[in-house]
């Protein structure tokens, strides 16, 4: 965790693109991060259902089996508890397993191993044992999928001490955040915004851009702050553009990047400037990340706030059949609606 996580502090959007960049999709950036991590450290393993010859149902592990062989790219039996539990054992033996959960809704058979074992083993051993397991979960909706394939369960992990929870929103972060997660010694739940897998972005693999757990101001503004992570960052940026064009509003946009820990200092600094905050995530609002952010921001910025922190997210209902998902997901209009509301206070 030395080299990668001691990266320079948040640089805000780089003005000049760094030299050795290439353009690729977010999914390909994850793939590249896995390949580079495996090449850099022979202890890094990839395991999960269909990650071998198939390259995973999203092809995120494409080519790794051919390059590193079945000892390092392991097609496992269809059993998430078994996958996470054996990954823990492998980590105890000095490996760095990167587990792929096929879809968000299928992590739950492995939840017990994650929550009672993976999260607590370091503390249980008073620091003697390290369990550097990374669990990659393609998450979120918007791809027209069937039940259990579109969920956003990040709050169910963030509440659990011992886990770190992150989600990248573009190719550069997808690459570096995964590299940093793998290099770190803590268990990390790495949520991949599956509907952004095909978004193109620039990647500079020469050095990490920012620390794994720092938020990132993507756009500066003065009227209100929009905060998203993973798939909703793009929505927030779009909303900020529309709000500027149509209503002349100046919205700041933050990509939270890390749900646990929260880079609360950055969020609070922004809110102290803009005095208004709207949090946008796909997960249900009730007991979601927005609740924690709202409570914390209000506690620490009480006298700076002109309006309550508003939350835009999923409803308290099972993720609906896909023909209804556009109505369920926090899209552009719902975000703009919340902006109107937050400005009306």
């Amino acid at each position: 965790m030395t080299l990668l996580t001691t990266a320079p502090a948040d640089l805000a959007p780089a003005l000049v693109p760094p030299p050795a960049t290439r353009t690729l999709t977010l999914g390909k950036a994850v793939n590249t991060a896995l390949r580079d991590a495996m090449a850099a450290d022979p202890k890094v393993l990839v395991m999960g259902e269909d990650v071998g010859r198939l390259g995973g149902v999203f092809r995120i592990t494409d080519g790794l089996y051919e390059e590193f062989g079945p000892e390092r790219v392991m097609d496992t039996p269809l059993a998430e508890s078994g996958i996470v539990g054996t990954a823990i054992g492998l980590a105890l033996r000095g490996y760095r397993p990167v587990v792929e959960i096929q879809f968000d809704g299928f992590v739950f058979p492995g939840y017990d191993q994650i929550v009672t074992q993976l999260a607590k083993m370091h503390a249980r051993s008073l620091g003697k044992v390290r369990v550097p397991v990374v669990i990659r979960i393609p998450y979120g909706g918007g791809i027209g999928a069937v039940e259990h394939h579109s969920e956003s369960p990040e709050a169910l992990f963030a509440h659990v001490a011992g886990l770190k929870v992150v989600s990248p929103s573009d190719a550069q972060d997808a690459y570096w955040m995964l590299r940093q997660a793998i290099e770190g010694d803590d268990p990390v739940i790495y949520f991949e915004p599956k509907r952004r897998y095909y978004e193109q972005g620039d990647l500079d693999t020469t050095r990490p851009t920012r620390p794994l757990h720092g938020a990132r101001v993507l756009r500066q503004g003065t009227d209100a702050t929009l905060l998203g992570y993973g798939p909703t960052v793009k929505t927030c940026l779009a909303a900020a553009r529309v709000a500027e064009e149509e209503d002349g509003r100046s919205l700041e946009v933050i990509d939270l990047r890390s749900v646990s820990p929260l880079d609360f200092a950055s969020v609070a600094a922004s809110v102290r400037r803009t005095r208004r905050l709207v949090v946008v995530h796909e997960a249900p609002v009730f007991f979601g990340a927005g609740a924690e952010i709202a409570a914390r921001v209000t506690e620490h910025c009480f006298h700076h706030l002109e309006a309550p922190v508003l939350r835009v997210g999923g409803y308290h209902a099972p993720y609906p059949p896909s023909r209804l998902e556009e109505d369920y997901l926090p899209g552009l209009d719902r975000v703009l609606h919340a902006v109107d509301h937050v400005m009306s206070f």
């Binding site: 149902v57 299928f106 069937v146 099972p318 059949p321």
Partner: protein, 371 residues
């Protein structure tokens, strides 16, 4: 690499028994010491009709997906005999717990195929009433329905009912802890449940030997229930073996694991590309064991059916397929407010609040004409 051979690979500690077979791949009727069956020509024709219809409806699913009408379709191609044979062993008063590929079972139980297509169109997550046809909702979380079936069967026993539950799941599913727990609960409580495993050789891209070191029907040994492997492409054998297992269950003789040794002829789902992980030779090998062709040959050889019958069956199936296609295409989009329906049976104040919010939000667009 041939699948039948895989079962004898060095990774397997034990040989698999020959599967129960009553109809050879070339359509000959053979006897089995333990499983005999008496089927009338009419029943045989019925089984044939079921299988053809299942295949036709399934093909419609694939086509509709290709045309963008469905989000996804998991094809049953190749598994018609396993599904129809076992489903025809189910009686009124029994209860079926399917997985997500069991369209043939659904049809035999009388479930409207439109409900299945609606599900894969993204219009509902199920929605039929399991009690109408003794056919539970599809379950997508691999293996979890095995416990529901076991609990349901425990309830049947408590009721003193003369019925049994049967649960469908795949070869991959056997690796899930839930499935082992279901075997164990069923054994401990002697529940009237039949575990019907369609071993179609693949769990997406993973062949069976990545799931298990032993032939799957042997899994039962470890839990104290009988396990039997049946030729899953032989509709008669599937019927006979499932019928015997269901009868055992109904008579208080406890659970059975049936492994139907079959083959997934198509892709895992329409999203899958099997050329990445399996040989066309393997597919060709299994094509020669086609379950429908087998029964067709038998029907013709024994003169239990003639070409006219076959044509009529094809025609009927085709009409059903076309009717479905039209219905799917004209299926109305669901009402967005349905998001808030049926979250709870007795209501929940937050759902009410969000429903009202949503209505106001929708109405605001109507007013301003915006979107």
């Amino acid at each position: 690499m041939e699948s039948a051979d895989r079962e004898k690979s060095p990774g397997s500690t034990r040989e698999a028994a020959a599967p129960v077979q009553l109809l050879t791949p070339d359509g000959r009727r053979v006897e089995h010491p333990e499983y005999s069956i008496d089927v009338s020509p009419e029943e045989l024709r019925g089984l044939y009709r079921d299988m053809v219809l299942a295949r036709r409806v399934d093909a419609e699913g694939v086509t509709l997906q290709r045309q963008g009408e469905l989000a996804l379709w998991p094809s049953l191609l190749g598994q018609e005999a396993a599904q129809v044979g076992s489903a025809r062993a189910v009686l009124d008063g029994d209860h079926v717990f399917p997985s997500y590929r069991d369209h043939g079972v659904a049809l035999c139980r009388g479930v409207d195929p439109l409900a299945l297509l609606a599900m894969f169109r993204g219009v509902s997550n199920g929605g039929w009433d399991p009690e109408d046809h003794g056919f539970h909702l599809y379950t997508l979380v691999i293996g979890s329905q095995t416990l529901h079936a076991t609990g349901y069967a425990m309830g049947m026993a408590k009721d003193g009912a003369h019925g049994a539950a049967v649960v469908y799941f795949g070869d991959g599913a056997t690796s899930q802890g839930d499935v082992s727990e279901a075997f164990n609960f069923a054994a401990v409580y002697d529940a009237p449940v039949v575990f019907f495993c369609q071993n179609n050789q693949w769990a997406i891209s993973e062949p069976t030997e990545k799931q298990s070191r032993v032939p799957l029907y042997r899994r039962a040994d470890g839990f104290g229930l009988p396990g039997v492997r049946v030729d899953g492409n032989d509709v008669l054998a599937c019927l006979a073996v499932t019928r015997a297992a269901m009868q055992r269950a109904r008579c208080g003789q406890g659970p059975t694991l049936v492994e139907a040794f079959t083959y997934r002829m198509g892709a895992h789902t329409t999203s899958d590309d099997p050329t990445r992980y399996r040989d066309s030779a393997e597919v060709a090998h299994w094509a020669a064991k086609d379950p429908i062709a087998r029964l067709r040959t038998h029907l013709l050889d024994t003169a239990h059916a003639d070409q006219a019958f076959l044509d009529e069956v094809d025609h009927t199936a085709d009409q059903a397929g076309q009717r479905l296609r039209a219905l799917v295409r004209s299926m109305p989009a669901p009402d967005p407010h349905a998001i808030f329906d049926h979250v709870y049976a007795d209501g929940h104040s937050l759902v009410d609040e969000e429903r009202a919010q949503f209505a106001r939000y929708e109405a605001s667009f109507a007013e301003t004409g915006g979107n």
